[in-house]
Symmetry: C2
């Protein structure tokens, strides 16, 4: 008997239960009527979106989700819906997948493996289920699983032992660079070992710091991918099964790594702006590489008409910086303003003159400049309802080479998880699509331009050394001795690590940004500010 299963790779708004249910019903009707599907499978916790975080602690929210799910059962017939929802049973909450068919619940599975590491806090909310769930549909025995379940060995085998001939997996699997290869490798190898085909449905879209990359797929019993949906966009596709055997169809090609990183950043900006109802975005354009990249990303995400740049030169801004910033703005066709910050800097200098008399110039004076820019940018953001994009990169965020309430101002920091060397690679990648970032911006030595002839290399190890040290320390939790043993100098390692250690307070107040590495700041890395730990 043939079975047509639709994979609904959706991009829902977390918390908007009513809209999500409408979209589920609409997708199901489309799959039934236009695609001839017998069944449609949605991502993990479809009804609420993922991750709903502490909304899951609200009784009203959970009631609404449960009511919506049970009403959905009556809303669409002629197709089975496989939907995720936070199932309340007495005082207990489960992360469940349910099969709705002809007004009834055909099966309900409770996720057994609840991730509680990295960005995941599922044990804060849910109780783990403890058994497989296999149901018969159109003559095929189908097992239900949810996300982390199929990463853990044992669960797929359990399903097979329970009689499953085909597995469905509902997922909310966040992107990081290279994740898709890891995901497909892990799951295909488990499938191959168990010899049971699997339908993997992932959500897509940006949700605060997380990007969900979609790329839903179907694996046959040999572990070969016979269908793959596109990355980073909504898509409803149908795959036909002969019994439990999927019939090979189209596989969307995967982006190369640099393109996937770029697409993730574009989607992250687009969804943060759209889902939070901003009129567009603004940013400060310095003539440096970071703001040049953020501008290009923002224009690619929102369109030139929704993006506005502000040049905020000071006495330390070199002519070439202004020239390059203007070239970028013009190349992308965006609106821009030029607002020199000297009047405000002079005002503060005057106001503080009596108190600061006799003190040496230090970072204080540099911070004042950065904060004057922050005030102007926030004023423009406030007045126009446009999101201020913060342009700092991960290398800066790591070592605290940024001014709190200055260049760290903003509602969203697109490249907060992008190390400086990757900023350069992404800029070069973007220029291969069309030349928008002047070559000089890419090749000149990076500078904060907060003091005469200042360059980053005065304060930090060169990025060619700094970035790999930071990756070892932050993403891989390596010790200083391990990093030194890998060939870096003790001096560079000590400088980098001690800066990371003592700048936790800045990161705590930084805007959210898009996670593209295996460990971002934010929910992903929870360090105490008050700490006697010294990495070196």
């Amino acid at each position: 008997m043939t079975l047509k299963i639709a994979l609904a790779q959706t991009n829902f708004l977390v918390g908007d239960i009513a809209a999500n249910v409408d979209n589920i019903a609409r997708a199901a009707i489309h799959a039934r009527d236009e695609l001839g599907a017998d069944m449609i499978v949605f991502p993990e916790l479809t009804i609420t979106g993922y991750p709903a975080e502490d909304l899951l602690l609200r009784a009203d929210f959970i009631s609404a989700a449960n009511n919506a799910l049970y009403q959905l059962a009556d809303r669409v017939d002629g197709i089975a819906l496989v939907v995720g929802f936070p199932e309340r049973d007495g005082d207990t909450l489960y992360n469940s997948a349910v099969v709705l068919h002809q007004g009834a619940i055909l099966a309900c599975y409770r996720k057994r493996v609840l991730p509680n590491y990295g960005v995941f806090d599922e044990q804060r909310y849910f109780t783990a289920g403890n058994q497989s769930c296999v149901f018969e549909f159109n003559g095929t025995f189908i097992g239900l699983t949810v996300c982390e379940d199929v990463w853990r060995s044992g669960i797929i085998e359990d399903n097979k032992e329970a009689g499953a001939e085909l597995l469905l997996t509902l997922n909310a699997s966040p992107f990081n660079s290279g994740k898709i290869h890891q995901r497909e490798a892990v799951i295909c190898s488990q499938v191959k070992a168990a010899q049971i085909p699997l339908v993997y449905v992932n959500q897509t879209g940006g949700q605060d710091e997380l990007i969900f990359d979609g790329a839903s797929f179907v694996v046959d019993a040999n572990g070969d991918i016979v269908f793959r949906a596109a990355e980073f966009k909504e898509q409803i596709s149908v795959v036909e099964f002969d019994g439990n055997k999927p019939i090979k169809t189209s596989c969307a090609p995967l982006y190369v790594e640099i393109a996937s990183e770029y697409q993730a950043l574009v989607l992250g900006i687009k969804d943060y702006v759209r889902k939070n109802g901003f009129q567009g975005a603004i940013l400060g354009l310095s003539g440096g590489i970071d703001s040049a990249l953020v501008l290009a990303l923002a224009v690619d995400a929102l369109g030139a008409d929704k993006v506005e740049a502000v040049l905020l030169p000071s006495r330390y801004t070199q002519d070439m910086s202004n020239e390059d910033a203007l070239l970028e703005a013009k190349a992308l066709g965006i609106k821009y303003h030029i607002i020199p910050i000297e009047p405000a800097v002079n005002a503060f200098t005057g106001m503080l003159a009596d108190i600061f008399v006799g003190t040496a110039k230090d970072a204080t004076e540099e911070n004042i400049q950065a904060r004057c820019r922050g005030v102007v940018l926030m004023a423009l953001s406030n007045k126009q309802g446009k999101l201020l994009l913060t342009t700092g990169n991960k290398s800066e965020m790591s070592v605290g080479y940024a001014t709190l309430y200055g260049d760290m101002s903003g509602g969203f920091a697109p490249i907060k998880d992008v190390p400086k060397l990757l900023v350069y690679r992404l800029a070069r990648y973007r220029n291969t699509l069309s030349p928008v970032i002047p070559e000089r911006v890419i090749i000149r030595p990076p500078s904060a331009e907060l003091a005469p002839d200042q360059i980053d290399a005065d304060s930090l190890p060169p990025y060619e050394l700094l970035d790999p040290i930071l990756e070892c320390y932050i993403e891989k939790d390596q010790s200083a001795e391990q990093i030194i043993a890998a060939g870096f100098s003790r001096e560079d390692v000590a400088r980098a690590i001690s800066l990371v250690d003592r700048n936790e307070y800045k990161r705590r107040q930084s805007p959210p940004g898009i996670r593209i590495t295996a460990r971002a700041f934010g929910r992903d890395r929870r360090y105490p500010i008050t700490s006697g730990y010294k990495g070196i």
Copy 2:
């Protein structure tokens, strides 16, 4: 046989393993030599301090903690040490309590109940143990437990069944208002039911947002407290046991609620400044109640010579505000500056004039004023290495009645978890100790003074209504309908809730503050910014 047990209510620095081990050894020698103790019991995870958060994911940190523990066994003899540490066993980490005696490990217990709610993330780091641990010492059979264990019914009984005649509990139990009564009630009733005496040792001190209140105690088999250590300070005390029966000794009296809240705030400021190595603290003094209270707290925490205030008047600042601010500064004997913000406000107004031409005045212009104050305060903080204290209260933080990078600037926000009505009560309480806050500051209508004749009540429901609505919504997770049913108007509830819902982005960038309620912002309340959930 008599047994003298010392309760070591310590205040350690999270992450400073070497110093913590030195302090453990010193305390043990003191207890042995000066107090004649046979055994000394320390708080949960003594070696690392609590909570060490993601430091616990670092292999080097865990190695250091394990090495330190095993070395400690050889360092002090003649007294048994009961110490908490993150025990590594292969790839698994346990939250363990170990008994060190005469250079050997006499017993090791792995915490069985790992809290993963509220501010706790223990399942992120630890695997739960699965058995009781009873050891014999001086003829008495003693059971080991750790914190959450003794809140969960069953564990104490298990220990009794395993032969324990006396229980030791190592704790890191954070303060919130009223918590001590809840803690003693829960534990004494469990002890009474099981008829087994218990020694409860809690840590003390401030650690980022958390306050640990100490108040360690000993309960006899009838559930009566026969010893209690002081709240909010370090103390090493000895209690004598006849076999397993504690001999009644002194019980430190408990603070009344308002005094405990005040003490918690003082300790929080003191430890944040001390443990992070600041030279002192500064704050903006407006003449309003919030900054008046924060100033009094800071002086009580740090001493008048370590605190500096800045008056930052604008054209909207009333004379009485300046007068009252000066009275406060003088009453507390602190250094202060007066820096009118008009020059900076005028500079920004001029810089933005062309762009803002034709637009109506709105919150943008108010925010500019608040941000000019932020720039000045941060400059003083940067130049002097003094911590800028943010003076906003919980009511403001809840509804977003504060300016990001303006009055929200600062490294630490002492009253961030103090609702406005409690701000008043704390101010009146402080004045009972000595009059430092002018009566007019307490009785005048609160105002942000960012526009002519502005008062808070123009924008918000009166605090007498707002605060209880916020408590129901934020601390109790009640729905709008529940709150309305409790007697509040739909209009007030709708206004309050919708403001809470849409200001998550501000809270995400707010400085850490001291948790004194059952649910603070920060680690305690993890809401998505991007959210379609509408509380009403």
